[in-house]
Every structure is written in C-alpha cells, then in structure tokens.
C-alpha cells in the first residue's frame, strides 16, 4: 500500500491571493479599509466590522512564538516525529499555525515568545507553505 501523502492545502476563491503570495515569497494578510482591523485567515470581508472593503498587503513576516506542542505520536503523513506544531503571533496581530524550522524541536530550544521570521517551504510546484525560523539578530 502506498504511504498516505502529506496534507496539502487546496486554495478557494477567497484564499487564492494568500497562496499566490506564499509562492511569490510573501506572507499576505488583509486589512479592513473601514476599521483598520488586520485579520487571518483570509476572507473578503472584515470579521470585526463586516465591511466588504478590505485590502491585501504584504506582512512584515515577523512574529513571536505564542504556543506549541512537540508531536511524537501519531505523526501526520510526511512528518518525522518529534516535530513542533506552533502558533505564531504576527507583529501585525493575527496568529497562525506553523512549523518552526532551523531550530531543534525541543522544549529547551523552543522558548515561548522567542522572535521568529517567516520562511517559505515549497511542497510542490503549486503550493508553498509559510513556515517560521528563529529571527536573526
């Protein structure tokens, strides 16, 4: 039997800009033109004030480690345990799930509130995944 494949995102009309951005090496967020609320995940209206006037912008890619687990078992297809599943708090406000690369997957190395910066991991020629690494300097 073939190994089950790693879960890959499939964009929808409302999220396509985000995945296009990731492929182009940009982390894209949305900001409400009416109330300035910055939000994630993508949708074509503001979840704070319901305005449909929203803009896509390139985020700084900077954030900090909000929380995480180090998953040992069961491991998701395509992942080698132990691996951290993290939630990153972006400097712009929203939080997102991610993985932390270029860092030992240990409680000692993964310190809450450590500074992170975005990196991009191509899963195939269509989908690139934003991930994070410890910020330099």
């Amino acid at each position: 039997m073939a190994e089950p494949a790693r879960a890959k995102p499939k964009p929808t009309p409302e999220t396509q800009h985000y995945w296009d951005g990731a492929k182009a090496g940009e982390l894209r967020l949305q900001r409400c033109d009416a109330c300035a609320h910055v939000y994630f995940p993508p949708r074509p209206f503001c979840p704070s004030c319901a305005s449909r006037k929203v803009s896509v912008f390139k985020a700084s890619g900077k954030g900090k480690l909000y929380s995480y687990v180090i998953n040992h078992r069961p491991a998701a297809p395509g992942f080698t345990p132990p691996y951290a599943i993290a939630v990153v708090e972006l400097d712009e406000g929203p939080r997102m799930m991610s993985n932390i690369i270029d860092c030992p997957q240990t409680p000692e190395a993964l310190e809450l509130d450590m500074k992170l910066e975005v990196a991009f991991q191509a899963l195939d020629d269509k989908i690139t995944l934003p991930v994070f690494r410890p910020a330099k300097g």
Partner: protein, 379 residues
Amino acid sequence: MRRNQVAVVGAAETTELGVIPNMSQIQLHADAALNAIADAGLKVSDIDGIATAVETPQQIAHYLGITPTWVDGTSVGGCSFMLHVRHAAAAIEAGLCKTVLITHAESGKSMIGKLPRSTPADSLNGQFEAPYGVYGPPSMFPIPVLRFMKTHGITHEQLAMVAVVQREWAAKNPRATMKDPITVADVLNSRMIAYPFRLLQCCLVTDGGGALILTSADRARDFPRKPVYILGTGESVETPMVSQMQTFDSSRAFKVAGPLAFKEAGITHKDVDHLMIYDAFAHLPLYGLGDLGFMPYEETGKFIADGNTRPGGKLPLNTNGGGLSYMHSGMYGMYALQESVRQMRGIAPAQVPNAKISVCHGVGGMFAASGTIIFTNER
C-alpha cells in the same frame, strides 16, 4: 429558561463499556437508548422528540422506530449532548414535544460502522492547520497549554496531578477502564504523545454510548426514578481552528456557556456539591475551574494538586474517573451527564454524600464549542 421545569427521568449507558466488538455504532446508540427507555419505564412509542450528534437524528429515529415531532441534530463535538439537553428543555417548555430521547454512541475503539472523520483540503482547517502536521486531537488540543502554563504559573507536576486524582475516583468505579493507582512520577514518565502531554494526560479511546430521557417536571413525579431537574443551562461556540482562539489563557466558549448556566440557575459557586468538567486532556479541568469562575486561573493547578477535587475533597470533580480513566469513546459529554445524573439520583459508585447541585461542563472540538448543564434533585 425557567428553572426546574424539565427533568431527566431516564438515564443509562450502553450495557458494556470499553471494547465492544459485537456492536456497530448505531447498535450502540440503540443499546443505550433501550436501556434509558427501560430505566424511565417507557415504551419506544412514548418518545416524540429525538436528538443525537454525528449520527443523524433520522438514522437513530428510524433504527429505533420513533416518529418524532421535534428533532435536534446539533453536532458540535463532545459537548453536543449538553446542547441537546438545553434545546430539549426549551422545546418541552414550549410544548413542541413531551418526551425527548438524547442518544450518543461511538465505536471509538472497534471502529465498527463508524463514520469517517476527514478534513477537506479546501476547508479552512485543511488549508491553515492540516499542512503543519496536526493529526488527531492529541496534536491539537494541547497546543494552548504551554501558553496557559506560562501566563498563569501552572507546573507540569500540577497537570500530572489531574490524572492522578481522577484515577483515585476511577478506583471506586467498577465500570472504569483504568483503576490502578498512579503517581505524578508515573504520569511524567509515561510515553510522550505531544509535549507537554504524555500518555496518562490524554483520554482513553473506547467504545460505548449513553442516552437520556427528558420530560416536563410536572410529569416527572410519575416516573419510577427520582427526577433530576434542569436548573440552569448555557452554550456557545468559538472557532473550529484551535490556532484562531481569541486567547490561549482561557476559552471564550467556556466563559460564555458556564456563567450563563450559573446565572440561569441562580446559584453561586459555593452552592455546587459536585462538578464534572470534560477532560479530554489534563488541562481542561484547569480551564474549566477558571473560566467557570470557581477561582483565579493562577490557583487552579494548586487547587487540584492540593487534593481539593479528590475523594473527600471540598469540590468533588470528575467522580467517574473522567475521560482520562473512566472511558472516552470520542464524544465524552454524554458520560459526564450520566455521572451528574447518577450523583443527583444518589446512586453513583463514588457517591458524594447529600449532593444536591451538580454542574456538568462540556467541550466540543478543540475548545470549539461548549455546553454547561446544572442539575438539582430538589425542585
């Protein structure tokens, strides 16, 4: 909703709990339902309202031979049954039906006739969580706990004590899956599942089911069992994505559902004799104690570690052994409700003496939903 207008008059679990290789999931529903209907001294034809989760109401109604005039298929995870109780109480008060059957069952271990759980790749979870290696509840539900620990000063030993204390309750319960005593060291040396949680801080995986029968309090006196009244109720949802919770320091759904039930019941925390907080993982009782307003979050870990929730303690919590030691078929809320009803009837294996008010608090998904039911045995 008005207090004490509706009562539980039938309550039962499946005949067996644990590993049940000779029943499919819908048969587990039926086994629990028939036990509850017998417990209430009713016939199937007396049921005119039905609620269930994951399985559809039409599936269970047809399988049992029920023709309902009221139906609720609310399916928000393991606390769905708390929401069913709330909705059923409102429906009975409004005259939409007279006698409601709520069923839960899951072939969680044997996986016979169990519906597949899947995350479509184009759903929000499929796009923004699944690609990062989440794989089942153990990889998701504990994600908030390190932040909760840092904010509130909770220790690994205190989180281990949750499992230790619940095992003490389970030891008193012949139907509990795990009964052997454990220590903090046992917990902290058990196999790592998803740091910081180890095997003994994660719920069991078993087969089983349960069912409840509700009717108006006026009719309830004519039933064979001591009626257990619905004193207060609350419910809410937050997000299906654990990463998108407003904060990891608390649960918004808990903070809405819990206080709503206390307000409706017109009670204070001092009035609570018995407490159930759905414990899919060891951090949930701490969130529950804080979010329901029993104490500041900073004190929750110490409160449990000091023995206040163990047998003989001042706030008996998860007295069946909980999802960690009693059983957990996938949606544990029904078993928490069953234990509250047993405590209010005075027939629990680890009975809290003279308990008059029981608070039963549930979670659905990974903090995605919540329901709270407050029971009393005094009208």
